[in-house]
Each structure stands twice: as C-alpha cells, then as structure tokens.
Amino acid sequence: MAMQVELVSPEKKLASMEAEVVGLPGSDGDFAAMPGHVPTATSLRPGVVTIKSGSETTEYLVAGGFAEITAESVSILAEYAAIRSEATRDMFDSVRTAAQAKVDSTEGMRKAEAERDLGEIDGLMKDLSA
C-alpha cells in the first residue's frame, strides 16, 4: 500500500509521488506518516523531510511550514524547500536571516520557539557545502 505525497513550496512543486513512509519534523517532535495515518494537520519546524518510495529515499530540507496528513495522502507546504544533496549554504542564508529577525522581534514563549528554530537551521547549515 502506498500513499500520495506532495511537497510544494510557494515557488514550485518539488515532489509529487507515491510513497510508503514520510518522515516529518513536526513542531511537537519528529514523526513518520504511513498509509492509514489518522488525519492530522501539523506545523513543521525547520528540518529534514524524508520520503521513502520503494527502495528509494529522498531527503528534502525544509524551513518550516505545514503538513496535512490523511489516510491516503500527505501534503507538505514548505515555506522553503530544497533537495538535501543539492542544497547550498547560500540558499539558506536568507532563511537564517529571517529566523534571526524573528528571534530579535519576539518575546516569551514565541521567542523560545524562534530560538529553537534558529538552532535547527544552524544545525542543518553545518552539513551544507559552501
């Protein structure tokens, strides 16, 4: 059994395929969605989305967004997304600047969240080539 996965960013559609497992960086923790998952809507923190289709696994970097999961499909709306192996540091510079601005402009709970997101982005950027 497989489910339909769509990964879209505002500028283009990155992936649309059948997959067995999708790993998502949910804002309350990482989780994997498989066919028959309870309908869920979740926000995403910056991280890695893993789409496993047959023997192939593709990893995408996303900078926050949303996912809508039903028993047959997963739609991921990423604010910014790129295939992990093709992503470069330059591409994420603007994302990091935005996250930094959010840390500076917010307070309390929101600030803690923003700081966590910034940390995640820094972690992701570490493995990227220049």
């Binding site: 309350d28 809507a41 979740t42």
Partner: protein, 292 residues
C-alpha cells in the same frame, strides 16, 4: 498639402515607431512565457493552502476565540485596499482597469460611510490614484528594478498588511489585481484577504474530515492564516506580472498593426503627390515647348 519631404519624414518616423513597438511586443512575449510559468508553478501551493485552511476553518469558525484574521474584528468600518499595479506603462488598459475597479470600491465605501485607506503596490496605480485620493494613501510599495517577483516581495507587502492589522488599524483588507485568463483577457479582481474568504467545503461541516491538530487548532490557525495572506498576495503579484506582459503584448501588437496601416496610407499619399508633381512638371515642359 504637406510637401514631399514632409511626407517622407513622416513615413520614416512611423516606420521607426513600428520597429520599436514590434520589438516591445516580442520582448513582452518572451517575458510573458516566463511569468506564466512562475504563475503556474506557484498554483499548487496556493491551492493546497486553501484546501488545508478550509478544512481547518470549518470547525474553527464557530469557535469564539478563533483568530481575528479568520473571523474579522467584528466591525466593518475601516478598510485597507491593496492595489497592485505595474511599474511600467505602455501595457494597454492593464493599470487603468485595476484602478477603475478600485475607484468603484472606494466610491462605494465612501457612500456607505466607511473609511477606506489605500496601499499602492506599483508605481503606475499610485500615479493614477494620486489626483483623487492622495489623502487616503499610506506609504506605497514600489518594486522598481525588481526583475522577478519572488516570495520575498510578497512577504514585504504581507508584512505591512499584517503589522497594521495586528495594530488594529483596519477591519477589512481587500486586494486588487488582474487575473490572467489569456493573452487577450485579463480580469481585474478584488479579493478579500481579511477576514479570510474561504470557499465552503462541499457537504456539511459534520461530514468533513476530523483532524488531529498539532499543536492545537488555534496555534495552527494563528500560524497558517498569516501565511495564507502572504500566499494570496504572492499569487496576486504573479498573476499581475503575467497579465501585465499579456496586456503589453496585445497593446503592442495593435500598435504595430496601426503603424503598418499608417505607413501604407502615407505611402499612397506620398506616391500620389509625387506623381502629381511630375505630371504638372511635364505639362509645364510640354506647354513651354508648344509655345515656341
């Protein structure tokens, strides 16, 4: 009766105008293709976004503490009109038709005793609205020199809108842009951004899928709604970019054809006067010879 030299100059000048409009038409055609591609590439995201949002909104609408971006502030007094137009002219009725629609709205709001405010995105719309409504302006956003509209530009506009809404300056926000139907047809459109206009899901609310929310429903909506505003603005800007090039292309096509007709007409006139001049010269010579 213009002299032969005048006619010749006129023909040359119309010919060079025709060259320019022809070149502009071709440039617009090339740009149109790119603009159309990016407008189409952005469509899935906007569609999914509306889909997700309408699913969640169905259950949240009846919720009293739903975010104001969804259900509004409860009043409809202060309106913000975001008028998106182009940075350049020479694109037929493109800007005027958007401005006309916006003006109709302003007039209606005023006669209803509401308070409209204008946020102009793009230079041309601002120029056209300036004479009548300068007192309603807030700082315009001009994208001069921006070659390609990206999500960043949309965020810039959304930032202004959301900040002023958060500061409770407005109750309703409406976006004006031209939807791209085809090269010859661009439809000026008014889209209500706040409170969010969400298409009703088919079937009643009870039949809609019950979702698990993570984090909770309101936190998710509070996150999703501003993004929806940005997405809608982004889509409007892309549609506008495609419409602008489409309108320019057909305007320039018309201009090229008109210039061609003009050249034909002037050429005939030139040839006739030339012939008339030769004939009269001949008559003069012949009658001169006969007199001898």
């Amino acid at each position: 009766m213009p002299s032969l030299k005048d006619l010749k100059n006129r023909i040359e000048s119309v010919k060079s105008t025709r060259k320019i409009t022809k070149a502009m038409q071709m440039v617009a055609a090339a740009k149109l293709r790119r603009a159309q591609e990016s407008a189409e590439a952005a469509r899935p995201y906007a569609e999914r976004m509306t889909g997700v949002l309408s699913n969640i909104a169905v259950s949240a609408k009846h919720n009293d503490d739903a975010p104001t971006l969804l259900k509004g502030t409860g009043s409809e007094e202060r309106h913000l009109l975001v008028v998106c137009t182009s940075e350049r002219g020479l694109c037929g009725g493109f800007n005027s038709s958007i401005v006309k629609l916006a003006k109709e709205h302003i007039a209606k709001l005023k006669s209803d005793g509401k308070k409209p405010t204008l946020l102009c995105v793009g230079k041309k719309g601002r120029e056209q609205l300036k004479r009548d409504y300068e007192d309603l302006f807030i700082d315009p956003i001009i994208f001069e020199g921006v070659k390609r509209i990206t999500y960043g530009e949309a965020e810039q506009v959304a930032d202004v809108v959301l900040k002023s809404f958060d500061a409770e300056e407005y109750d309703v926000v409406t976006l004006f842009y031209a939807e791209f139907k085809s090269v010859i047809s661009q439809v000026p459109t008014a889209l209500q951004l706040v409170p969010a206009s969400i298409p009703e899901v088919e079937g009643d609310a009870a039949a809609a899928t019950q979702y698990e929310y993570e984090p909770d429903e309101n936190a998710l909506l509070a996150d999703l709604l501003p993004k929806n505003v940005t997405t809608q603005i982004f889509r409007a800007l892309l549609e506008n970019a495609a419409s602008e090039q489409g309108a320019r292309m057909s305007a320039m096509d018309n201009a090229t054809r008109n210039a061609g007709e003009m050249v034909d007409k002037l050429s005939i006139q030139y040839n006739r006067s030339r012939q008339a001049a030769i004939t009269s010269e001949l008559i003069e010579i012949i009658s001169g010879a006969e007199a001898l």
